[in-house]
Amino acid sequence: MIEELKELARYKDLIRQLVIRDLKVRYKNSVLGFFWSLANPLIQVATIWLVVKYILRLEMPNYSAYLLVGYLPWVYFQMALLDSSQVVLTHRDLLKKVYFPREVLPISVVLANLVHFLLALVILFAYLMFYRLFLHGAPIMMSALWLPALILLETLLITGITFFVSCLNVFYQDTKYLLSALLSVMFYLTPVMYVAELVYVRIPEAHRRLLYHIYLANPLNMLTDAYRKTLLPPFTAQAMRGMKISSLPLDYAMLGVAALVCLLVAVVGYKFFNSRKWVFAEHI
């Protein structure tokens, strides 16, 4: 694997070219260009916010901030995975003609989506500043310094999964359909629209600690929770549908576990991909 990483490092300029090309081509013939990659999640967030606040009438102060902070990392996860399912097939002509480390393809997809994510975070910070200045609601906290580490962990996780997805889709084109079905389920199971504390209080008290830890061992749950807890202040304890819900502190031990899982997924994904990458050209 060390040899393969060295070879990959030699092709870092190819990764850069692929990322630049992806960003350039995606919005080449659209008037609003880059705006679209920001507009889509914002429209989604606005819709969920409206439904939750005015139709479900769930009372939670600053819900929009909590929602946005959970939603942007989700979009990064979802878009990178969906894009990666097709990336080997769309480069079939190249794959059949030239040698290059095949993993540059899924990696470049992840990095292009990372760029979108980072831009969306700029919007998020502007939004949080607005809150601080005018509404004194959700100030930006020192714990936001954790953000780069969280982004790195999520990127590792996503890269690992895209290795599986992009590889499997070469052999079984069902992969992309299965993936989009799974993603739409996962959207509801991950604490994006709601906070993880809601899951915590729903677990029967007898098994609460254990089951909640298992829940947080899923790195996507843990990271979504951690983004919120490092960027936003704890929400005020409140009664919600007959349950008293109060904010839990960030579970650093479980964050450590999630970090290990992310790393493991990345390493296993890379090995899986490498063991099959040289037969892609024969299969597409």
């Binding site: 090309r21 190249l94 059949k96 030239v98 040698y99 079984y172 069902d174 040289w278 024969e282």
Partner: protein, 242 residues
């Protein structure tokens, strides 16, 4: 001195893909086991090509020419046998393969070069000579979707040769392009040879083979049927075809 390319007992076997491949259902149901048919594309081939040689690979469709070129170019892994290559390889990408239609000619030069493993710094120092050779200076900042097939081929050839490889692999693409540019390509290939570089090209154009290569290898159903002087070998090949 090591040869530029050495193939030792090289065998390549493909599983023939059937309609049923490529879906999860097929994989799950495959305990019914439809035996997959194999195709022996290259059968125990040994070949050495020295530095400075220009070799034409000829043979009918399906004889294994492109497979052999792809194994040399590290696109396919051999089923068994060894491939040794001494020097930096460059592949002439055919029309469209290495180009994105929405990007300009200049952007595509950088992309194409990066695919071949060159760094941005190396490409920046070569981009002018590439543009110069391609004679596309007036169009270089337009998207390549507006290029003709001939223009694409010129750009592809320019990137492949001007990036200064030790070994150049060409798969049947020199046919496009006007006569004047073809001459220029052949001249460039001559100067390439003079610099002691190695060229392997697959072609059906026996005229081109005679013009460029002193040695030819005739592949037939995965084995080397003949290997030798281009003039006499192409005559045999023609005689055999009728």
């Amino acid at each position: 001195m090591n040869p530029a390319i050495r193939l030792t007992n090289l065998t390549k076997r493909f599983k023939l893909l059937t309609e049923k491949h490529g879906s999860l259902k097929a994989a799950l149901l495959s305990f019914k086991h439809t035996p997959s048919r194999d195709l022996l594309a290259l059968d125990n081939i040994s070949l050495a090509i020295d530095h400075g040689e220009t070799v034409a690979i000829i043979g009918r469709n399906g004889s294994g020419k492109s497979t052999m070129l792809r194994i040399i170019g590290r696109v396919y892994k051999p089923t068994s046998g060894a491939v040794e290559v001494d020097g930096r390889m460059s592949t002439m990408l055919d029309l469209g393969a290495g180009f994105h239609p929405e990007l300009t000619g200049r952007e595509n030069i950088f992309f194409n070069g990066a695919v071949m493993g060159l760094s941005m710094a190396q490409l920046r120092s070569k981009v002018d000579s590439i543009i110069d050779f391609s004679e596309l200076a007036d169009f270089i900042d337009s998207p390549v979707k507006s290029y003709s097939a001939g223009m694409l081929m010129r750009l592809g050839f320019a990137v492949a040769v001007e990036t200064d490889p030790d070994i150049l692999l060409i798969d049947e693409v020199l046919a496009v392009g006007d006569a004047a540019f073809q001459d220029k390509c052949y001249q460039r290939i001559e100067s390439f040879k003079a610099e002691g570089k190695t060229i392997v090209f697959v072609t059906h154009d026996l005229e081109a083979a005679r013009l460029v290569a002193s040695r030819a290898v005739w592949l037939d159903k995965g084995i080397i049927r003949a290997d030798g002087d281009t003039i006499s070998l192409t005559e045999d090949y023609l005689a055999h075809r009728v």
